[in-house]
């Protein structure tokens, strides 16, 4: 029997040298072993990941390559200590499909990610690739649009506009030359869905885009990728080259009248370029300023021609829909939002990574079921979705089924799929300030409400987090937020206040605590808290002392430890290092004296 070893070479695993593991395995493997690379499995926190047949190894090292070949392959002995350890009961799990992180997911678009070699088109083709393209050529534009409309697919880039309807606009727009664009700008800091798909399964995106091109009548496609994603760019380029060699891209594709070519366009680091009109300006070689809509890109887009823009995941979904049919897609998810949602689950959660679930899955299932809960038994505080355009959802809404409308009702957005979990050690006011500082910095400056408004709002938040806030600030902040929301030119400004509004709504008492009591309960805002060791729980392990940046933990293992509040700068290293949550956040010292 031949064995197949698959080594993950996504960016995450590469950072822990999975390329060197691959080389070693290739060098020493016998005839009966095939060593291939794959893209991201989505389980980056466990990397480097090596799959031997269907056994998943986590945290593999270079030395393990020898054990894999000698013990596993030759002697059939599994490397127990490299199997995934379930944080719930510390048991080791052998098979890929048995790990709760995977077994609770519905991976239809991510199905091939981690299973095929993204740099080898044959892998994609033998997994059924380019069948949808063939089918689409036979179907013709009207039938494609009908199927996509029927499927109920909504754009995965954020706003959730029905894809089929958008295609129909572009198809009906007059113009000899039309364009189709993949939006792979993925500007949401803290999200990496699009990156992983491009790195792990680039052909599925190419295929979806070409189906879109047939539908709207485009002969040229662009992909706009973030400059920070070099590996995604190179994998995508390679995929285009291989597809061209096989006749999937070029003139008269698969003997039809359809001709198509793809241009790879790298961005240059501007969040606003994820917005479609700014993105188009950037491809045209201009500053990425968004413009007023209408006219929508479907009427006047790239170089003034009718243009259709979709997110990476939307195109990947189209490939799936054409292959499996609209009905099957509709059978997943909710009535309002059919299909699956892909999230990058990160922050204070045990299993962080890339996940795919049916729309309508509850936040609790995602965070506690798949994500395995919060590390170190800390308390869940909120989950942030939609990045800088989204909001924070508190505990009482954890049982909300996730889709476009439910999240919007809660004052957040679905967004492109960023999902960041925060625990009690994150200060909600500082968190809101973080997002606002981001949008303020990324505001292109064209319209006043966004340029000036975000700056003023940031100043208010800075005041509050430095202990100089006034109660009237809260009123001003909501007023300002509403003005920015309703009067900004583009989506950046229109959504920038969401992090502030949602936290003001759900965590108002924490704002008030900052202003009235001068206290930051999370122990984040400088000068607004003090730290104390709770001697009832302290196990005298000395970790806090070793971790302290300012040598402010006095004492020793025999006599116990205390924090010297005079020298403590509040670096929080002790809080992070304490294994038993034995360090407590207290009001600042000056207050206690009073």
């Amino acid at each position: 029997m031949t064995h197949r070893i698959k080594v993950c070479q996504g960016t995450g695993c590469l950072s822990s040298k999975s390329d060197e593991i691959t080389d070693l395995l290739r060098m020493k493997a016998g005839e009966d072993v095939e060593v291939t690379i794959t893209g991201c499995h989505g389980f980056c926190s466990q990397g480097p990941i090596v799959l031997v047949d269907d056994v998943l190894y986590t945290h593999t090292t270079k030395t393990d390559s020898k054990f894999i070949l000698e013990n596993h392959i030759r002697d059939g002995k599994i490397l127990k200590n490299r199997l995934y350890k379930n944080p719930a009961d510390k048991s080791r799990i052998e098979k890929y499909g048995d790990i709760p992180f995977y077994s609770k997911q519905t991976r239809i678009l991510l199905e091939r990610c981690g299973n095929i070699d993204p740099e080898n088109i044959d892998d994609y083709i033998s997994a059924g690739g380019y069948q949808s393209l063939k089918k689409a050529i036979e179907l013709g534009p009207e039938a494609i649009i009908e199927i996509v409309k029927e499927s109920g697919l909504r754009g995965r880039g954020g706003a959730g506009f029905p894809t089929g309807v958008k295609w129909e606009f572009a198809r009906n727009a007059p113009g000899a030359q039309k364009y189709i664009i993949i939006n792979a700008d993925e500007g949401d800091p803290g999200a990496f869905m699009d990156r992983s798909i491009l790195e792990a399964d680039p052909h599925s995106v190419i295929e979806g885009m070409m189906i879109g091109a047939i539908a709207i009548g485009a002969s040229i496609g662009y992909i706009y990728v973030r400059a920070e994603y070099p590996l995604a760019v190179s994998r995508f380029r390679k995929a285009v080259k291989q597809a061209r060699e096989r006749g999937y891209i070029g003139e008269n594709i698969l003997g039809s009248k359809f001709s198509f070519d793809i241009v790879v366009n790298e961005g240059a680091g501007a969040f606003v370029c994820g917005e479609e009109t700014a993105l188009i300006a950037s491809i045209e070689g201009k500053r990425g300023n968004p413009r007023q809509k209408p006219p929508f890109p479907a009427i006047s887009g790239l170089f003034g021609a009718p243009t259709n823009i979709n997110n990476v995941k939307s195109f990947a979904a189209v490939t799936w829909i054409i292959k499996h049919g609209a009905e099957k897609f509709r059978s997943l998810g909710t009535k309002d939002s059919p299909g699956t949602a892909i999230f990058s689950l990160t922050g204070k959660v045990n299993n962080s990574g890339l996940i795919e679930v049916e729309m309508g899955t509850t936040l609790r299932e995602i965070i506690f079921g798949i994500g395995g809960g919060i590390p170190k038994n800390k308390k869940f505080k909120a989950v942030q979705t939609g990045g800088p355009s989204g909001g924070c959802i508190p505990e009482q809404y954890l049982d909300t089924p996730v889709d476009y409308s439910t999240l919007a009702d809660l004052g957040s957005i679905m967004g492109s799929g960023g999902m960041v979990v925060i625990d009690e050690s994150t200060c909600i006011v500082e968190f809101a300030k973080y997002f606002l500082s981001f949008t303020q910095k990324e505001s292109c400056g064209k319209c006043t409400p966004c340029r000036e408004g975000t700056l003023r709002a940031k100043e208010i938040l800075e005041r509050i987090t430095s202990g100089n806030g006034k109660l009237s600030d809260l009123e001003d902040l909501s007023k300002l937020a509403r003005v920015i929301k309703t009067t900004s030119l583009c989506g950046l400004g229109q959504t920038a206040p969401n992090p502030v509004l949602s936290t003001l709504q759900y965590f108002r008492e924490e704002y008030i605590e900052h202003i009235v009591d001068g206290m930051c309960r999370a122990g984040v805002c400088k000068g607004m808290f003090s730290l104390e060791i709770n001697h009832d729980v302290c196990i005298n392990c000395s970790k806090c002392q070793k971790s302290c940046t300012f040598d402010s933990v006095l004492g020793n293992r025999e006599q116990g430890f205390v924090i010297n509040s005079e020298t403590c700068e509040g670096c929080r290293a002790c809080l992070e290092s304490c294994p038993v949550n034995g360090i407590e956040v207290r009001p600042p010292i000056e207050l206690k004296v009073k």
């Binding site: 995450g12 950072s15 949401d188 800091p189 803290g190 920070e228 790298e266 961005g267 990058s344 960041v420």
Partner: protein
């Protein structure tokens, strides 16, 4: 001049200006002034326009980068895992090194959020950074300099 060669690769098409600038920066690590001037002539785009583009996009650098550029992620996932604090610690530790040796900058998300907090050193991603790893990194960089 490199910029002429790059411009002709794109048939002197000014709409490809961003791709050209990217290519120049990939080569030098920054955008040297004479290359931009020569690019401006090749594609007949005024310097003022090019300047407008360079200053709009945060990717572009106008000064030669340090020998060891360190980028600290300030994306959301890294932020909630205290990347700012680690950056402060790191900056203090390398304060004594000359500016052209090590540079530190913040970037918004390197796309490895599951490994947060993330540093990127000489283009290599270092995930799961801790105070200890930061100290090791700093002493490694100090060692480099002595050699």
């Amino acid at each position: 001049m490199l910029s002429q060669e790059i411009a002709s690769r794109y048939k002197n098409d000014k709409t490809a200006i961003i791709q050209m600038l990217n290519a120049i920066q990939d080569h030098y690590g920054y955008l040297p002034k004479d290359e931009i001037i020569s690019l401006s002539k090749s594609i007949m785009l005024p310097m003022s326009k090019i300047w407008g583009i360079i200053t709009f996009y945060s990717h572009y650098k106008l000064t030669r980068p340090a020998k060891h550029p360190v980028r600290v992620c300030s994306g959301t996932a890294c932020h909630v895992k205290n990347s700012k604090l680690l950056k402060d610690v790191f900056e203090e530790l390398i304060e004594d090194l000359p500016e052209d040796e090590v540079s530190v900058e913040s970037v918004a998300c390197l796309g490895c959020c599951a490994l947060a907090p993330v540093f990127e050193v000489n283009g290599e991603v270092h995930g799961g950074m801790t105070k200890k790893k930061v100290e090791e990194l700093a002493s490694e960089l100090h060692g480099e300099e002595m050699r």
